[in-house]
Every structure is written in C-alpha cells, then in structure tokens.
Homo-oligomer: 412 residues x 2
Amino acid sequence: MSIIGTVHPIRNNGCRSQPGYLGYRGMATLENDLLKFDIPEIVYGIGALSSIGDCAQRLGGERVFLVTDPGIVEAGWVDEALRFLKQVRLEAVVYDNVVTNPRDYQVDQGVQRYLEKKCDVIVGLGGGSPMDTAKGIAILVHNQGSIHDYVGCNLITQPIPPLICVPTTAGTGSDVSQFAIIADPKKKLKLTILSRAIMPDISLIDPKLLTTKSTELIAATGMDALTHAIEAYVSSLAWPMTDPHAIHCIELVFTHLVNAVQTKSMDSLEGMAIASLEAGIAFSNAILGAVHALAHPLGGLYDLHHGLANAILLPMVVNKNMEHAPEKFAAIANAMGAETRGKDVYQASACVPEKIENLIAALGLPRRLYQVGVKPEDIPSLARQASEDLCMLTNPHCYLAEEIESMYREII
Amino acid sequence: MSIIGTVHPIRNNGCRSQPGYLGYRGMATLENDLLKFDIPEIVYGIGALSSIGDCAQRLGGERVFLVTDPGIVEAGWVDEALRFLKQVRLEAVVYDNVVTNPRDYQVDQGVQRYLEKKCDVIVGLGGGSPMDTAKGIAILVHNQGSIHDYVGCNLITQPIPPLICVPTTAGTGSDVSQFAIIADPKKKLKLTILSRAIMPDISLIDPKLLTTKSTELIAATGMDALTHAIEAYVSSLAWPMTDPHAIHCIELVFTHLVNAVQTKSMDSLEGMAIASLEAGIAFSNAILGAVHALAHPLGGLYDLHHGLANAILLPMVVNKNMEHAPEKFAAIANAMGAETRGKDVYQASACVPEKIENLIAALGLPRRLYQVGVKPEDIPSLARQASEDLCMLTNPHCYLAEEIESMYREII
C-alpha cells in the first residue's frame, strides 16, 4: 500500500475535548493545527541488552533503579542486566514487586525504595507492567502527591529522572510512548496518564529477550501491537508522519505473528519487535481509539491481560468504525494482504474484520468476553467508564455509553 | 510498495571503515550489530513559526541566538520570528552573516557574537547553510578549538546548547540530522561533521516559510531530498526503521515536486516539507552514499549549490549502483510510480534512472557538470576527495578514485 498524501485536516469526532487535551505540548492538537512527532532514542539489536550500562552512563546515571517483575528475574534477564551494569561499574537496586496491570501502591513502594537508595536513573525491564510502573515511579520521585494526581493529560510539571525502557514483550509500545496505565485496585479502575514528560529517554530493544516468553503471551501482545497500529492509523490525530509507522506494523504483524507464535524463530521475533516499535511510535503520536477505551475498564475490573482484551474487542470495533474512515480501512486491508483489486474503498474495508478474525483463530485466542470472565451485569458500568476514556476522543466516531453497552453485549 | 522485512544483516561495502565510525554512539554500526534510530522532537504546522518562543522557553532559553541569512531577513521571516519571541518576552540576537556553503570563519564570528551577547539557546532559521552554521556555532561555544578539530565522526565531547532548527527550504534535512557541512574556502574543501551531539532538540517545520523561495531553489532542494532518500534507502546501514521514511519521501517527491515548482500550492509545499523531513530522518540514521561523496568536492571547489550538484550526479550514480542492490532499486522504482508489473528486480531497477531524468527535465535543471562550471582538469583532485568522503563508506559499492574519475567524466 502506497502511503501518499500531505497533511489532512485534523478531524473532530464529536467528542467534547477536555481542556488542555491534545495541546501540542502533549501531542497534536485540535486547537491550533500544530502536529507533533516525538520519540525516544532507539537502540536496537540482538544482544543490545549488553549496552544497558552504556545507555545509563550516557544519561548521567550512577545508581540504577531497575524495575522489573518476578517472571523476568526467573528468565535470567535481570542477572544479565546486572552483569552488564557491573561491567561499567554502575550500582543497581532491583525492584521486582510488579504484577500484570500494575497497582498504584506498587508505584508508591517503588518511589520509597528509589529515594531510600538514592538512585538517579530508572530502567524499566519487562512488558508493559514493569515499564509503566517505572514511569509511575519516575513521575513521583520528582513531583509531589500521589499517582492519582497525574491521571489525565499533561499534568506533570517537573521533569522525571533519566528513564530507559527495555521491552521483553513485543506489543506494549510503552518503551516509546507517552502513556502509563496504572490500576487502582480499590476502585477497580485503570488510570491513564498521558504526558510528554514520561516519554523514555532511550528505548533499548533486544529481540533475544522475546525468546523466553510463552506463546500465549506472544500472541496476546502481538494483537496489542496490531490494535495500536490500527487505532493510530484511523485516529483523528493521524498524520503523514504517523501513518507509515502504523502501516508498517500491520504488514509486519500479518507477516510474522503466526510464525512467531508457532516457531519463535529469531526472524519472526525480530519482525514482531519492529512491529511493536512501529505501533508504539504511531500511537504515542496519533493516540488510540475505541478498542482501548473499551479495553481499559475490562483490565480494571477483571484484571484481564490488555492484549487479550484488545484482541477480543478489535474485530467488533473495526466493524463499527469502518464506515467512518473507509479510505483508511481500505489501506489497512491492503497492508494485511487482502485481495482488494477491483474493489471500492467500502468493499476493501470490509475485508479487514475477516482478516483479523482469521488471525485470531490462527493464534488460538478467545473470541468472546464470557471466555475471559466478563459478566453481563457489569456492562452498564463498563460502558460508562469506556465512554469517558481519553482514547475515545481520537476514535473516528464518538460512541455514547448506550451504544457502547450494545457493543459489549454483541461479543459477550 | 510494501515494506515488509525484518532486519537484514548490515553489509560491508568493502570500504575500510574509519576507527570509531558508525559506532552506535553516532549511528548504526558495522561492528557490534547495534542499530540506532534517533530524531529530534518535530513540531509541524502551517503557522508553526508562532511557537518558536514556546519551543525556546521549553528548552530553558532566555536569550536566543538566531542564525539566519540575508535572504531570510529580506523575506520578512526574521522579523516574524523576533515578534513571536518578543511575545513571550525572550530577547534575541540576530546573526545573519551566512552564505550558501557557509564558511568556517562565519562559524567563528558567530561564536564570538554568541559569547559576547551571553546567549543560551540557538535557533537556525533558513536552509541548510544557516542551520549548519548554527550547528557549527553550537559546537564551539561548549567545546575548545576550531571547527576543523571536529571534522569526522563523533569527535564532540561536550554537549551543545539547546538548538532549534526552522527550515525555510524543503530538502536539506539538517533540521533532523546529525550532519553539519562547513566550507573551508582556503583549501576549497567541504568539511563533514557527523555526531549525535549536533542533532537539534526541536525541528520546527512551518510550510508557509517555503512560499518565499524561488522556483529554482524549490527544484534544487527537492532533488536534494530525493537524493537523501535514495541514498539512505540503499545504504549499507539502512534497516526497517529507516526504510519506510525513505520510501515515503520518494513517493512524496514524485507526487508533489513538479507541482510545487510550477504552482507553489500549499498542498504541494506541504508535500515537499514532509518529503524533506522523511528523507532527513532516513539519512541521519542510515547515512548516505556515492552521490554525496561526489557532490561534496564540487561544493568545496566551485561553491556549487548542493542540491544542484546532487541532481546532476544522481542518475549516473544510480546507474552504477543498481546492480549492487537490485531489490532495493526495484522498490524505489515502485515508489516512483514506475510500471514494474511482470518485471524482475533488474528490469524494475532499470526504470529508476529514467524516472529521475524525466523529473530533472520537468524541473528544468541542468544535466551536465560543464553547465555549472566544472573543469575537466579538476577531475583527478575531485575524485581523490570523493574517494575519501565519509559518505562513500555506506554506498552499496565502494568506488575507487580512478573509477570516480570516469564517473565525473561521463557527465562532464
């Protein structure tokens, strides 16, 4: 699919935009027509983990606070990272008390530990959970109050310490994004923090780290990357600098994901590492859409893996969104390898849901919400939360709470 | 053209690589298989110049050193920039003593002025010449010695002051690159400085600034962008993160350049602004090739406009390079809109020189070196310099001085 085109007008999808939201300090804007594109420095390679010490030193670090989780420790990557840090005589403190859908109190514990140990650079080593926890800790060591005070857009006033993210999954994109998602287990909510202040300084990507992941996780995180790319591509803030990244991710996912799950070949894992990176670049700058708006409440209420939630929601949301951005979905169909010759944009768009469903089937992921524990009686509350999610603002169409209710019910 | 693929092995083109060159501190590497991708923050929009003060303040600046040239002053953009800086109460010192192919002594004068006036942030407003001069000044206000001490790769040890680049042409890519090219008028040489230390903090792109440029300059700078994209795409350091940017530029140039020259419509100027940006991102991370190696000596000896030199050299160099990267040139042919169905990669590649020649003809640019004053007796010396140029290291094939002599003679 050729990606021609200059800057199209920024569309307003009908959502009432929050004050200050989408101002170009944080990202592209609905107000003054300025667009922005901002990503961390990316260091990539098989074995790139060995340069972790060099990266920390370049950022002026002397004592590293390494945020990770027990699975990464068990896989041996924390020991490797510590060895490489030691080689350049850097001290390190490990904080591995992080779970999937990381909790607000885990951020607080991390902050206390960071301050006690007088660290000066933070490394997030893991999937989205350790990296988002690292971001949360980074916010609070230089800003007052609790993590709840920074929920929303661009509320962080003091710069964070130097931050390096080292992803061990291919999907989250947290290593290049301005997002951090933290769970509030008391209220069973997901908190979305969005600020240019939390973009990492360096994203250090070593595809070797993907080799110790389960096939289930590779499948779910791969679907997360695909969802990021599709939502960023049809976002009302998409522009010619974000579009090629989104399209490149979609091509890579349809080339490599099934193979990565089935064989874990280094070639396919590299493909997925780049796919995740491309999607992260696209969505950090163009933001997301309704799939994420509907997925966040599911993560908050049921502690559901984010990639899995996205995978179940994606075909249904695409089906609804198609008519609001048919040219864009036709381009997505092309990137997925669909046969679109002789079809108009509506006919070509219509290939997208089937392509996604076939991919999900090949990956053996669940297709219905009941399979992951969603209860019909929770739907009104889930829908209300989804309608208020930041990500709905950039979806091609703004869905109201009652529409979202029927969307959830369609796939329960 | 679909851009599928994972990371291909970094190829060595046979050139002896310089010690320290291509180490990932500066860029991707031939030695440890690490690749990097690093770009400034990009702020884009029609009217984006109005945010210059905000950008300078975000970088902590209080007194702006504005490097520009007399043409930009005359066009009124310097007054506009000063007005916007004043709106946020920033003082500014203007240094406009810059010419095409900026001189080493102009850098020295700028440094003296910057230090006298106690400035703390630098803005390069203009084409490649003011921006590269701004980079040269930025190097010397925080590093000892003369600009000649920093010629080569990664020789800058102290960070530069905050640097904002505001391009007024669509082609140079200096606003996003790690390159600065300064002329040594005594030795009639171009000095190439390549270091991550000189990448600007912010590239502020306002397509409105292109409206006051002559059609000749739009044509020549547009060919510069195309050359950057083609050389970066076939570079031995190209990788899946740089390739889509290069291809996107090629598509945009073949869609918008002729129209930009003929009509200066805002749509076509926006197309070229993005094309230049995409090419800059590609070549800053994948580096360049033989066209630039052969163009730099022409700029040094004859003070020839860099875009014009590239335009004359490009079809001939592509003709030689094609056989060394046929798959890549086939993809370029597709991006140029050539009819490649049913052709193998060699046949498809062969469309590229003709496509370029047709474009140059449509733009009314010269096709031979004699038309721009090149003398046959200078060719041996030009060829020797070209063979030693840093850009030759990443060309798909390493040409020796005697081969380069005959290359120049072919198009004299």
